[in-house]
């Protein structure tokens, strides 16, 4: 058995099993997130929400998926066929790819690489391509406008997100995600770096094109923005990709600021709960906030969105970065 596991085929089999162990629960969570979002928003708006398919409407995600599969995929005659189909695939694949480095428990990452946080940042910054390519390949005014908005928006918010990540890295002294979590054993980073935590959370909303920053979709003025021409499975891939991206961003927030798989207090009733459960709980808390924000705030005006990114978040994160460096240096807390 050991000989098989150490052979190259064995390693391949283990990797595939690990990948499935991450992706299958992720997709189930994504499916139920669509249901949870509708239920939570319904509760906040004093409605009932989906309640017909199955008990409490619990089978609604599967009904939706079946409906998407049955429908016809329409490709506009003026569209660039190859890129039109490639765009939703790219969105979905990127949202799945990033999970390779997320540590769900100590040593529970598929690839525990040295530059894990850079890998995450790189993959999340590629998400914009799915949207731009979709907008361009659709050969439609609305789609293109949505794509242009989204490109400017995501590039702007990445800058401040980068500075937030650098601030966290200063406190950790490593780019490895497992070590970032282990560095939070004494205190989770959202307490000492609270302003950066807020900036990071709002930037994740902008990165995932979620309300109140969903100008790329803007159903009231751009009908559905970059995905106006998409139908059936191509649309479903965008939809799944968006929710998987939200989970990814929540996992990033959890890893960087909320102590990953660590229990809130390292004491008896808390550390009986296994690490992955804590991780899932924290991710779900972040996801709930995503929905909460959506149900609460109206959409930003575009110039205010840009102002917030460049004139508010960027200066604050820059100053906080320098401040953190000074404090760490003067107090002698700089990790080696």
């Amino acid at each position: 058995m050991d000989a098989f596991l150490n052979s190259s085929i064995g390693i391949l089999a283990i990797t595939i099993a690990q990948t499935l162990a991450i992706l299958v629960p992720l997709l189930i969570f994504v499916a139920y997130m669509t249901y949870a979002e509708r239920k939570i928003m319904a509760a906040m708006q004093m409605r009932v929400g989906p309640n017909v398919v199955g008990p409490f409407g619990l089978l609604q995600p599967f009904a939706d998926a079946a409906k998407m599969l049955m429908k016809e995929t329409i490709i506009p005659s003026g569209a660039n066929r190859a890129l039109f189909i490639f765009a939703p695939m790219l969105t979905f694949i990127l949202a799945m790819m990033a999970w390779a480095v997320i540590p769900v428990n100590e040593g529970w990452a598929i690839a525990d690489i040295n530059v894990g946080i850079l890998y995450l940042f790189a993959i999340s910054s590629l998400g914009v391509y799915g949207i731009i390519i979709a907008g361009w390949a659709s050969n439609s005014k609305y789609a293109f406008l949505g794509a242009l908005r989204s490109a400017a928006q995501m590039v702007s918010y990445e800058v401040s997100m980068g500075f937030v990540i650098v601030t966290v890295l200063l406190c950790v002294g490593s780019l490895n995600l497992t070590q970032i979590v282990m560095a939070q054993k004494t205190v989770w980073f959202f307490i000492p770096l609270f302003p950066m935590f807020i900036i990071f959370f709002i930037s994740t909303l902008a990165e995932t094109n979620r309300p109140p920053f969903d100008l790329a979709e803007g159903e009231s003025e751009l009908v559905a923005g970059f995905m106006v021409e998409y139908s059936a499975m191509t649309y479903a891939l965008f939809f799944l990709g968006e929710y998987a991206n939200m989970f990814l961003m929540s996992a990033m927030t959890t890893t960087l600021f909320l102590g990953g798989w660590l229990a809130p207090i390292d004491m008896a009733p808390f550390n009986w709960v296994p690490g992955p459960l804590w991780f899932i709980l924290k991710v779900c808390l972040c996801m709930f906030t995503f929905v909460w924000v959506r149900a609460t705030f109206p959409r930003y005006r575009y110039d205010q969105l840009m102002r917030l990114g460049w004139k508010v978040f960027l200066p604050i994160s820059l100053v906080w970065l320098v401040l953190t460096a000074f404090v760490l240096k003067l107090a002698g807390w700089l990790p080696v």
């Binding site: 040295n114 391509y129 731009i132 590039v155 205010q304």
Partner: protein, 232 residues
């Protein structure tokens, strides 16, 4: 064995996509092939063990530079027929320039002298006391090459300021602008005010219209009323 195979696969795709960047008919496709080339270059860095460089290549070039590049190219209105015009005429001079660059590269490589311990360094690029190549790069960049590093940063800053200066236009004196801090700091969310025409609500920090220059004022008002319509 697998590393060598991966190297040849990535290198072949890199060269093929680089060729496609130049030969693709559609400029948007060219940019997309350029992005593919960046990706494969990042993969080659990974195979060489330079994971930090690989990630930075993807973040900076693919995640930011190429996005803006794609953004611009998509908005260009390019006539393919016009672009192909003069291809025959410029072919010889292009070929001469390309050939000379190729010859120069050949000469440089032919006269290359390898240092005695170069082979050993190539096998172990990290110094022995450093765990990751991120640390190794940081140590060199911020000590031996700090001047060059800062100077290149300054050059980029100058370029950025230059771009802003070129595109910054002074707003006309009577443009509307919003003072968000004042708006947010208001004690009462809803107030009723009798607003004089074209004066705005400067004290409320809402949409402020600065007073027009005195000489132009009557003319501008009359002009606006004619076109604005609906007042009389």
């Amino acid at each position: 064995m697998i590393a060598a195979l991966a190297f040849y696969v990535f290198a072949a795709i890199l060269i093929a996509s680089a060729v496609m960047v130049v030969t693709a008919r559609n400029p948007v496709h060219s940019v997309l092939y350029l992005i593919l080339a960046f990706f494969n270059a990042a993969a080659l860095f990974l195979i060489a063990g330079a994971e930090f460089l690989a990630m930075i290549l993807v973040i900076v070039y693919v995640g930011a530079v190429a996005v803006l590049f794609l953004f611009v190219v998509m908005m260009l209105d390019i006539d393919f027929v016009q672009m192909k015009e003069g291809f025959q005429r410029y072919l010889p001079i292009g070929a001469i320039v390309g050939g000379m660059l190729f010859l120069e590269l050949l000469f440089v490589y032919g006269a290359w002298q390898f240092a005695d311990d170069a082979q050993g360094l190539r096998m172990h690029p990290n110094p022995a006391d450093v765990a990751t190549n991120t640390q190794a790069i940081g140590r060199i960049l911020y000590t031996d090459y700090i001047f060059l590093f800062q100077a290149s940063g300054l050059i980029l800053l100058v370029a950025m300021i230059g771009a802003i200066v070129l595109t910054l236009r002074e707003k006309p004196a009577n443009s509307r602008r919003q003072n968000i801090a004042v708006q947010v700091a208001r004690a009462h969310a809803v107030t009723m005010k009798d607003v004089p025409k074209r004066a705005g609500l400067a004290e409320l920090g809402g949409i402020i219209r600065r007073p027009l220059p005195a000489a132009k004022k009557p003319k501008a008002v009359a002009h606006d009323d004619q076109h604005g319509g609906g007042h009389h």
